[in-house]
């Protein structure tokens, strides 16, 4: 197990460096001068050159990348052009809200997905299976930003039960786990949960069906095990794969929250990314993407290790 873990961690190093390279290069594929957002329109040539030197844009690209990576390793991702504050602090503050949203959505989506998947897989080819599968397909096909709008229309505009936008009552600056804040979380969390719900349902359904059709299940039943006992075996056998899929989905929710956060004005990393794009705040754009991608990479690493820990077949392979 230790050897496997060590090997997986070593594999991650080149990935992290390449991810950093992609994030670094993103700024350099942007058309126009990256200084455009800070420079006044009537800036003199000297001022432009001065700023270019201050940001290090006058050096050759590999040198710039090396310096940028070195500073990033020390937690310095530069300062936001729009606000002048350090990028890392800005991103970490926003990531907290995204994590809150992703965890709430994961609880809803994974619970629903596992339940629907088990039921559909157990009652395969019956109407129960068809209903559960339809839910799953609708979940993965719906444009989630549109679903968010529909929920706002129904629960905020028509029924006036839940707030439409924001992450807490006005005047509140930080998240708290009380109803005043939680009611802001309900709609974005449900919206975020539909895709993982659909994918987990499909995965668990397929796994359940496959496991139930194996010979050992027949043997378990023949030796007189009750269906609840059979189910325990199904869950044990399905767990490693289901866990891996759920881990990946959690990563997608953390990294892909921009559309939902925009619909609900949820002050998370996606919302930050959106404003970075439209203010052409390149250091902020670069930093947010880097941190979200790193989250994703490390989550994948954790999932791999956890999967190997509960499924002894993987380490050997």
């Amino acid at each position: 197990m230790l050897a496997y873990t060590a090997r997986r961690i070593v594999y991650v190093v080149p990935i992290v460096i390449s991810v950093a390279l992609v994030c670094f290069l993103l700024v350099h594929i942007t058309p126009g001068d990256p200084l455009v957002a800070v420079l006044p329109a009537d800036a003199s040539q000297e001022l432009a050159a001065q700023l270019r030197a201050a940001y290090g844009f006058d050096r050759p690209l590999p040198v710039q990348f090396g310096l940028w990576l070195l500073r990033a390793l020390h937690g310095d991702l530069g300062n936001s052009i729009a606000t002048g504050r350090p990028v890392l602090a800005e991103v970490m503050r926003a990531v907290g809200n995204t994590v809150t949203l992703a965890i709430a959505a994961a609880i809803i989506g994974f619970t629903m997905g596992i339940l629907l998947g088990l039921i559909a897989g157990y009652f395969r080819e019956t109407w129960i299976d068809k209903v559960a599968t339809s839910f799953a397909i609708a979940g993965v096909s719906v444009p989630h930003y549109w679903l968010g709008m529909l929920l706002v229309i129904i629960f905020s505009v028509q029924l006036n039960w839940l707030p439409a936008v924001g992450a807490g009552p006005s005047g509140s600056n930080s998240w708290a786990w009380d109803w005043a804040h939680l009611k802001y979380l309900v709609l974005p969390a449900i919206t975020t949960s539909v895709i993982p719900m659909g994918i987990v349902t499909r995965t668990v359904r397929a796994l359940t069906g496959d496991i139930l059709s194996q010979d050992f299940v027949e043997a378990l039943r023949a030796k007189g095990l009750r269906e609840t006992g059979v189910f325990r075996h199904v869950i044990k056998n399905a767990a490693p794969t289901a866990l891996a899929v759920m881990g990946l989905q959690l990563g997608y929710m953390l990294g892909g929250s921009i559309l939902i956060e925009t619909v609900f004005s949820w002050p998370g990393s996606g919302f930050l990314l959106n404003s970075a794009i439209f203010q052409r705040d390149l250091p902020l754009l670069q930093g947010t993407i880097l941190i979200l991608a790193l989250f994703f990479v490390f989550l994948n690493l954790l999932v791999d290790i956890a999967q190997a820990a509960i499924d002894p077949r993987i380490k050997r392979g």
Binding site: P14, T30, S141, V157, G255, I277, L285, A293
Partner: protein, 300 residues
Amino acid sequence: MSELPLSATADAALQAAPATKARGYWATVGRRIMRDKVSMACALVLLLIFLSAILAPWLGLEDPYKGSMIRRLRHIGTVGYPLGTDELGRDMLARLIYGGRLSLVIGILPVILAFCIGTSLGIVAGYVGGKLNTAIMRTVDVFYAFPSVLLAIAISGALGAGILNSIVALTIVFVPQITRVAESVTTGVRNMDFVEAARASGAGAFTIMRVHILGNVLGAIFVYATSLISVSMILAAGLSFLGLGTKPPEPEWGLMLNTLRTAIYVNPWVAALPGAMIFAVSICFNLLSDGLRSAMDIRN
């Protein structure tokens, strides 16, 4: 036929056999999918949406660009405006139908482009193997380190708003995924006897890939690619929804959804219509792709 003795039927069957050519794989798949009601219903819906988008100028619709301040945000069912009007008083029916033109192109084109690029890369990586395989597949791994929504938004955010940029961004998102599938099916085929035989009979690498590999892997890659169209439609419209795709006043479902967002307090159901179009196309492609997958799985 039933009156004939058994031997005669068998004889007749034997005589008929050489005349009817054995049905090919794709003909069987086609026949199987034709019998699947859900797939056919989806194909019909998609056909209607495609045809109406292509034929939009000849359908006698209102001008999708012409607005009017006095008839803004009419409700669904208003006389003359069956699906109401948008925030600038433009006919929603016309805008939804015309919107299909751009929305379908920016949603489907990236998958087609990625299919071509990814299949080529994957087959070359899988067949040639060695260092080239490592180089291609490790590059692909890097893109897998980004959640696809984040990657699409990062690239199109960096490139700036525009239809072309969003197509490029989505193509870059899908190429690695298709490459991975293509590489894995090619690796499964490359050591089979018929490839070996072709190599022994002196066929060059390019010929083997084009003739012997491509025909055997294309089906699997194609099905995988069709399953990506749904995601691509949602992401493409999503980029426009964020303001990274096309620009107003162009009719496009994602952008329409964005500009109508402020109208949800006045006329919510009209505001939700463009999203329903995206949903319809996306779910139909998903179901059709599922149908195709099970139709191609002849063993079951």
